[in-house]
Subunit: 212 residues, 2 copies
């Protein structure tokens, strides 16, 4: 990784191309009161570094710094559907004790609670379960619908949502996991689970993809 330092003239050229491109080398030289030959090294460097693109018979144009936009475009284009994992659902009348066992069996941090039509009714986090487990001895009797978070307090996302948007929901709403849903007339069908783990994995794969 070598950060490139532009000299003053290169900076000026960049500015000219940005405002007037496509523009020929001749025209740039004219604006600077310099010869085309004098500018040649600067134009070569700017083109090699990816600041400028050159097309024969057209001229130079500003590339928008391709190397940077590629990675950042990738970031903005990442979709929830590409990083979601499988949801783990339990029924509303399952006991808290059984839900905790389920959490360990499936090795997840959050359970989604569904009704008999498989529509989303609630969310159970480790904190919800832990809070209940120290508050009562009746874990094998209390059904999860008593302690779960319900609408409108459930934050969810869709497969086609941007990963960044979903990541913001995780942070802003202080949750570890979002159900990924299809909105239907009859309710929310759960199709996935998006967690801080999903986002962390995306962060790693993005860094590795664009590793130079």
């Amino acid at each position: 990784m070598s950060p490139i330092e532009l000299n003053k003239r290169q900076d000026t050229i960049l500015q000219i191309v940005k405002e007037n491109g496509p523009i020929t080398g001749e025209q740039i030289a004219e604006r600077l009161n310099l010869t085309r030959a004098t500018l040649r090294p600067d134009l070569a460097i700017l083109t090699m570094a990816g600041f400028l693109d050159a097309r024969p018979r057209v001229g130079y144009f500003y590339s928008g710094k391709k190397t940077m936009t590629t990675a950042s475009e990738s970031m903005m284009n990442l979709k929830v559907g590409d990083f979601q994992s499988l949801p783990v659902v339990v029924a509303e009348n399952m006991t808290v004790y059984d839900a905790i066992v389920q959490l360990f069996l499936e090795d997840v941090g959050t359970l989604f609670v569904v009704d008999e039509k498989s529509h989303l009714q609630g969310v159970l986090s480790r904190k919800d379960l832990l809070r209940t487990s120290i508050g009562t001895q009746e874990l094998t009797k209390i059904p999860v619908h008593i302690i779960m978070s319900r609408m409108p307090n459930i934050v969810y996302c869709k497969k086609s949502d941007s990963l960044i948007g979903a990541a913001k929901k995780l942070i802003d709403r202080q949750v570890d996991s979002l159900p990924v849903v299809n909105e239907t007339e009859n309710g929310l069908e759960i199709v996935g689970r998006l967690t801080k783990t999903s986002v962390t994995k995306a962060f790693i794969s993005l860094a590795e993809t664009h590793d130079l």
Copy 2:
């Protein structure tokens, strides 16, 4: 001359440094009525993106945006120290019950256990606490050192480690949180906490900085 869009706070910081640089992070924080810790991610990103340069014992100064760094280079250069949060520690002989209460009071997902010399001895995750809470009625009697994870099973990182490296540890070792430590002759001093939340926040701020 840059396709990078900064958020409002980053813009303000840039303005302050332009007008007053070289200026220390402390001094910038003072002007904004914010803590140095709050500013750390913004300063890291502005430096990585090439807007600011930093010199030890001197401070930040405006670089004129002459360096070219890609988003992926920025990503590789992010350090744990810029995104870590405050650690929450408990003593080895604290009861499991009190530890759970502490977890809720501090609103964290992981507690670090220290000996009387404040050196890292163990880690308590929500899952450790939940497992214990359904396995026994004696939560108010069992000390945490009985159930905590111990060396060599504790994964940790240092302030100067790359954020990507730490993120990989979180994923590979399937933990939610890493203690950030100073390695000393006598043991590991805990100086921070790096979580999947930290990584998710970094991901968001990186995407926003490089947003077009």
